[in-house]
Subunit: 389 residues, 2 copies
């Protein structure tokens, strides 16, 4: 009956404005009217990427954009430095293998951020690294990696800097040009608050120089075709795009422009602070190293005596709030709260309140309101100068 | 940017299901396809009224249905007992005057419920009372009147029992047949959780006997025409109805059927309890006599040192939660929280949390979380057996 509140790290709640935009009539995807929408969407996408580059929209999930990034760059036997501190870091490595690259793995303990010095060390030791893959926001662990600092390291080397910002773009600060990111990818359904099914990619000239010399390893994700179609007088996509999702992306990006990217990033920062303060006040432990904690998702250890099934089951079935579980070896040990997209103080307060109630029902000792009051405190004037939060 | 959370006593938040239904293509309002929708909607309306009577939908506000009730019953000089304990009780009296009836006013102090013994006393003293008007839920004061008990009194007299359930139907228990209500009216935008703009009315045989002998005082609201159009092989409305709102009402009523009327009424009861417990724990005072308190709206005295402008302004502009102010002489002294329609524990918790924060910002002494924890307590197992809340 009720809509369940999505507090997972994507897909996130989609506003009625975006849903409404998505329900407009379908137009010909090879027409001036669609060309204008595509152009407009691409331009806003580049603004959110904080880049002068062209951006391209791909009908597919964030993973499709991750594959587009590597599948247009790797030749058989190319060495790729994969920085792996979670499930999505691993995915870049798997894609490297799929396209017959040779992964050089920099393992980062799950819950910690990558260390720029380690990256420099490997680049100095290993010869001919063609590209470095980095996941900005490790959705699986709630860690934000220092993409700016690693970008500084990369300036001293020829390797392309490929960054996955699927669960950070539009919620955390991603300055593609200033951070020296050569290829950046993202997805529609996280901080951008559009429905799932659309991905975006942007490449600078360094990246295009490599792509131009490389035969694409995939047909659907051949970026040269995206560029060519996008350069037509009436811009197009190479294959039929999801027209409805393009409407949705367009509207979602408009809403980001209205809020202002800077304000939006600060709002996410505050939401993360509030969530962290709330769970810590409840006596819960963060999974990730707090200094490395993400602006968009918080991973929390399931307390002793509580099971994942009871915790998330009660949240879902009784309080109609959907949380995410742990992935891979964290399954059953960790749960995750997504606070990205159009989430405000209101949803964080409801979530922390319901979390207190769910835990208390199963015997966790807590005075109701303890976590909530810490969230409230975070948003009180003095701790909060935002206009929208 | 964000959708403001409506915590006012109507219009209430409309679910995306209902909004979606409303955006369907317009059909001919004199066609079999619309006739079926109209029939279906009327039948569900009667289920919610808990009556065997036919119900009729009127494109207009709840006030239109109030006028339809009296404008088809009053002849010049007819005596109408108007029970007046708030703004909407007054409205029935004004409608009585508009149609040249003679109001007999039973004044009830704002904040209190009507006393059935007082009704009996007037009916015994005054001769020829043609109808008694009662507002079930006084939206202006947060009082629920004892419509069942007053119905029992009315059984000993000939007067028609006309009840306004605009802000209670679908949220509080309204048993039209069992309570002996002759004419019952409601609106779309309160507990039914449809958009504003549609009203409904139901009349039993006693009422129709009077209506049949009375020349309607209004053209648009002539109930005999509604009955006649409704009785056609393909049911119709006498004038072009809002087809879109009919779709919305149909979907909103379907959602009520899915939840179950009994469960829905209990959910509202729990929401009222939670709200009252929350504000009392904060040290605030209810405006209405607590024993007479409404299941759908709570009126609260604005505490000393706080202004309505600061309180509701902060709630609206900072926390994006819309509360209602006081009406008429309560303006500036009282604010009101609506907890009707599809409001759940989540919205009540956010509202009470933001209320604490707004008051604290203006110097009201409160420990953050105090009100919220009382709301949480209300919903904890032991105090709450509902499946959906």
């Amino acid at each position: 009956m009720y809509e369940t509140l999505l507090m997972i790290p994507g897909p996130t709640r989609v506003s009625s404005r975006v849903l409404k935009a998505m329900s407009k009539s379908i137009v010909n995807h090879r027409s001036a009217v669609f060309g204008e929408i595509l152009n407009d969407t691409n331009e806003m996408m580049s603004e959110v990427f904080q880049t002068e580059n062209q951006s391209y929209l791909i009908t597919g999930s964030g993973t499709a954009a991750m594959e587009a990034a590597l599948g247009n760059v790797i030749e058989k036997g190319d060495k790729i430095l994969n920085i792996v501190g979670g499930k999505f870091g691993e995915r870049f490595m798997q894609i490297t293998e799929t396209h017959q690259g040779i992964p050089v793995e920099l393992t980062v303990e799950w819950g910690n951020a990558a260390n720029p010095d380690d990256v420099r060390y490997i680049l100095e030791e290993e010869e001919d690294i063609k590209a470095v893959t980095m996941v900005h926001n490790e959705t699986s662990t709630g860690v934000a990696n220092p993409i700016e600092e690693i970008g500084k390291v990369l300036k001293d080397f020829d390797a392309l800097y490929v960054v996955d910002t699927v669960s950070s773009l539009g919620g955390d600060d991603v300055q593609v040009d200033n951070f020296g990111i050569d290829i950046c990818v993202t997805g529609s359904q996280k901080c951008l608050a559009a429905p799932p099914g659309m991905a975006a990619i942007t490449l600078n000239n360094n990246a295009w120089n490599v792509v131009d010399k490389t035969k694409s390893k995939t047909y659907y994700l051949d970026l040269k075709k995206y560029r060519k179609s996008g350069e037509k007088t009436v811009p197009e996509t190479p294959y039929t795009p999801s027209v409805s999702l393009m409407y949705a992306m367009n509207e979602a990006l408009k809403m980001i422009m209205e809020e202002g990217l800077e304000a939006r990033i600060k709002r996410h920062e505050q939401a993360a602070k509030a969530t962290i303060n709330g769970v810590k006040a409840m006596g819960l432990e963060l999974f990730a190293n707090e200094e490395a904690s993400s602006a968009t998702v918080t991973a929390i250890n399931i307390p002793e005596g509580m099971t994942d099934k009871n915790l998330r089951g009660t949240m879902r079935n009784k309080y109609r709030i959907e949380l995410a579980g742990g992935q891979d070896h964290l399954k059953g040990n960790v749960f995750r709260i997504g606070h990205m997209g159009n989430i405000t103080h209101r949803e964080i307060i409801s979530t922390i309140a319901a979390l207190e109630m769910s835990l208390k029902e199963y015997g966790y000792e807590i005075e109701l309101g303890t976590g909530v009051s810490a969230v409230q405190e975070t948003y009180m004037p003095g701790n909060n100068t935002l206009e929208f939060f």
